[in-house]
């Protein structure tokens, strides 16, 4: 199976999604199995490509049109890691009780998220971004309660406004450079985007993408949506979709806008997001909104970490993002179990020891208790910020640490209520089911990763070294070392040529 097959990871869920509603009219079960099969196949394809690449990078010219004319998918460790996370997490958070339309939307969401991870073309990224947006509007609105529809409408308006800005940013970039391919942009950026106009374009794109990535202050939809929908959907949106939007921002930052000002903008907004998110979570009076605000804070930490230039920032950001990807969806599943006003949960955690233990485990890891992974992620973030040593970076580090105190205060206050000896008026009936199994799986992975810290750390470093290797990206996508592609027309052969070039970059393990 060549690297070209990676397009299957996008195409198969789409195919299944297209057929799902029609098929679902006759057999809902068939539609469900079709979706599972497509996601499993997508995961298998990505896995086999990962194994084949073996730490190298590759570019796939979709349709065989050589970039920068055609659209290229870029495969490196970071892209494949997140792409692989998509079908796996989607399978875990599959809307079991849903209709065939919901299956279709979930599949489309998965395909689009995979595309976000892989694509190397800014307009193609925009299309996939919009596709995730529309699919998630539909999924949110599919929820029974009327509050879900109101939340979806407000989410849609905000997100669409952000998309207009994103589009304007893309237009500015295209006007300046005449290309949409990220690798080509990376070669042109030093001369064409190193000015206020480039910065403005980045700002527009950041805010546009920030809506999905829960960037402050364009995340007003987060508490409304997450507390309106089921824990599974909230987990999917908070865990997966937000990370992929962040990934796109990071790609743009590394390849196209490597100016310190751009990173600083991200740092400032991320820092404010931490402050607002964690403080609001402190005041939140119900579990769902507490987790929603906490998610805003966590994504703020992700942005702050990614704003540090160089591999250190990428390692820290990836660690925080992956940790959040693991814990927050599981917490939303637990919140689904208890739900409701925190004060009403007095003693609700007693007698549900597995769920309570998981809650404690996730809370400890979020707060950052060694040796749990959350501690290492936080340590990496703080260290990379301090290493950077600028004023805003230090302030960011201080805020990250102060937020930890606030987070510990509210998470354990909630735990104190859950495990209180005296029980509340009526303790909510726990519903058993696969939700707890999924959360347990996340807990097991979390604990298991404690024993694999060394390989994980080395792996992250390798990924980060690859991700910041702009030259490698350009070489892989456009071919030829340092080729100045100013007039691609003169050398582009017929569209039939090209195909995938697999450039085996030796895995760079930083010492």
């Amino acid at each position: 199976m060549t690297a070209d097959a990676v397009t299957l990871a996008v195409a198969l869920p789409l195919l299944a999604g297209f057929l799902s509603p029609a098929l679902g009219r006759s057999s809902r079960t068939a539609a469900q199995w079709l979706g599972w099969a497509a996601l499993a196949a997508s995961a298998a394809v990505l896995w086999s490509v990962w194994v084949r690449l073996d730490g190298g990078t590759a570019a796939v010219a979709v349709g065989g049109f050589r970039p920068p004319l055609g659209i290229a998918f870029y495969l490196d460790g970071m892209a494949l890691l997140f792409a692989l996370a998509v079908p796996v997490v989607t399978l875990l958070f599959w809307p079991r009780a849903g209709t065939p339309q919901q299956f279709a939307l979930t599949l489309v969401l998965a395909a689009a998220a995979t595309g976000l991870a892989l694509s190397g073309d800014i307009f193609n990224l925009y299309v996939f971004y919009e596709l995730t947006a529309v699919a998630s509007f539909g999924l949110v609105a599919a929820h029974e309660a009327r509050r879900a529809q109101a939340a979806a409408l407000r989410y849609l308006l905000l997100s669409a406004a952000g998309s207009v800005l994103l589009l304007a940013g893309i237009a500015v970039v295209y006007l300046r450079t005449g290309t949409l391919n990220l690798a080509h942009l990376a070669t042109l950026a030093p001369e064409r985007l190193q000015d206020p106009v480039g910065l403005a374009a980045f700002a527009l794109m950041l805010l546009g993408l920030g809506v999905k990535a829960e960037l402050f202050p364009v995340n007003g939809w987060v508490p409304e949506v997450y507390s309106s929908v089921s824990g599974r959907l909230a987990g999917l949106l908070a865990g997966l979709v937000s990370k992929l939007a962040v990934l796109v921002v990071v790609r743009a930052l590394v390849l196209v806008f490597p100016r310190p000002e751009a990173a600083e903008l991200m740092l400032v907004l991320g820092t404010l997001g931490i402050v607002v998110g964690e403080l609001a979570a402190w005041r939140a009076r119900d579990l769902r909104r507490q987790f929603a605000f906490s998610s805003i804070g966590q994504l703020g930490i992700v942005f702050v970490a990614f704003s540090v230039p160089g591999p250190a920032g990428i390692v820290a950001g990836l660690a925080v993002a992956l940790h959040h990807l693991l814990t927050k969806p599981a917490l939303f599943l637990l919140a689904e179990r208890w739900g409701g006003a925190i004060e009403g949960l007095r003693g609700a955690g007693r007698g549900q020891w597995l769920a309570s233990t998981l809650f404690i485990l996730f809370a400890l890891s979020l707060v950052g208790v060694p040796p749990l992974p959350g501690f290492w992620a936080k340590l990496l973030t703080v260290m990379s910020l301090m290493e950077q040593g600028t004023g805003p970076a230090r302030a960011g580090a201080v805020v990250v640490m102060a937020a930890t105190v606030v987070e510990a205060a509210y998470l354990f206050r909630t735990l104190g209520v859950l495990l209180a000896r005296e029980s509340g008026a009526e303790s909510p009936q726990p519903h058993r089911g696969p939700d707890l199994a999924t959360a347990s799986l996340a807990g097991l992975i979390l604990v298991g990763s404690v024993f694999a810290l060394r390989p994980l750390g080395d792996g992250l470093k390798a990924l980060a070294a690859q991700a910041v290797d702009v030259d490698g990206y350009v070489r892989t996508v456009l071919g030829g070392p340092g080729m100045a592609v100013s007039h691609p027309a003169s050398q582009a052969p017929g569209g039939a040529g090209g195909g995938a070039r697999v450039a085996h970059v030796p895995p760079e393990i930083a010492s």
């Binding site: 307009f123 299309v127 919009e130 947006a133 529309v134 509007f137 539909g138 609105a141 309660a145 009327r146 509050r147 529809q149 109101a150 939340a151 979806a152 409408l153 407000r154 849609l156 308006l157 669409a160 406004a161 998309s163 207009v164 589009l167 304007a168 893309i170 237009a171 295209y174 006007l175 005449g178 949409l180 508490p223 409304e224 507390s227 309106s228 009076r285 119900d286 579990l287 769902r288 909104r289 739900g339 409701g340 006003a341 004060e343 009403g344 008026a425």
Partner: protein, 143 residues
């Protein structure tokens, strides 16, 4: 006094549409107006996008028999804008459907009222007394 060059006029027009749309999104109360404002803003964005391929005195990028009679405009933004328009249509259709549904569920088409009702709904779903109330949590609110 001569007119400014065409591309500047077009650019100004695109930006104006964008701004009018966004201002409408911020300032409007009526949900349908919000959707319309979104449409206007998207039109501005699309115009901006298609303008990126505009060349002075060039013709459409269609090869009709003979050799092209002059420089052609960039075909890529035209393709992009086609995509963007369709995306806009999809989003607006969904928005209108949501407006219809929300109007039926809440009986209001005003954004601020909707937001207040939504927050009440969220509190109620969580079993919380309304914000600022001194009541004990979980108590049934008088309707």
């Amino acid at each position: 006094m001569s007119l400014p060059p065409l591309e500047i006029v077009l650019y100004a027009g695109a930006v104006s549409l964008l701004i009018i749309g966004l201002a409408g999104l911020v300032m409007s109360e009526h949900l349908v107006r919000l959707v319309l404002a979104l449409g206007v803003a998207e039109a501005g964005g699309n115009l901006l996008l298609v303008l990126t391929g505009f060349r002075q005195g060039a013709v459409a990028p269609i090869l009709l028999g003979a050799a092209p009679s002059g420089p052609m405009v960039d075909p890529i933004p035209q393709a992009l804008v086609l995509t963007a328009i369709v995306i806009g249509v999809g989003v607006q259709a969904l928005a209108l459907a949501l407006v219809l549904r929300v109007r039926r569920a809440y009986g209001t088409v005003h954004m601020s009222a909707l937001r207040a009702r939504l927050v009440e709904d969220l509190d109620e779903a969580a079993g919380l007394p309304p914000e600022g109330s001194r009541e004990a949590p979980g108590v049934e609110r008088p309707v």
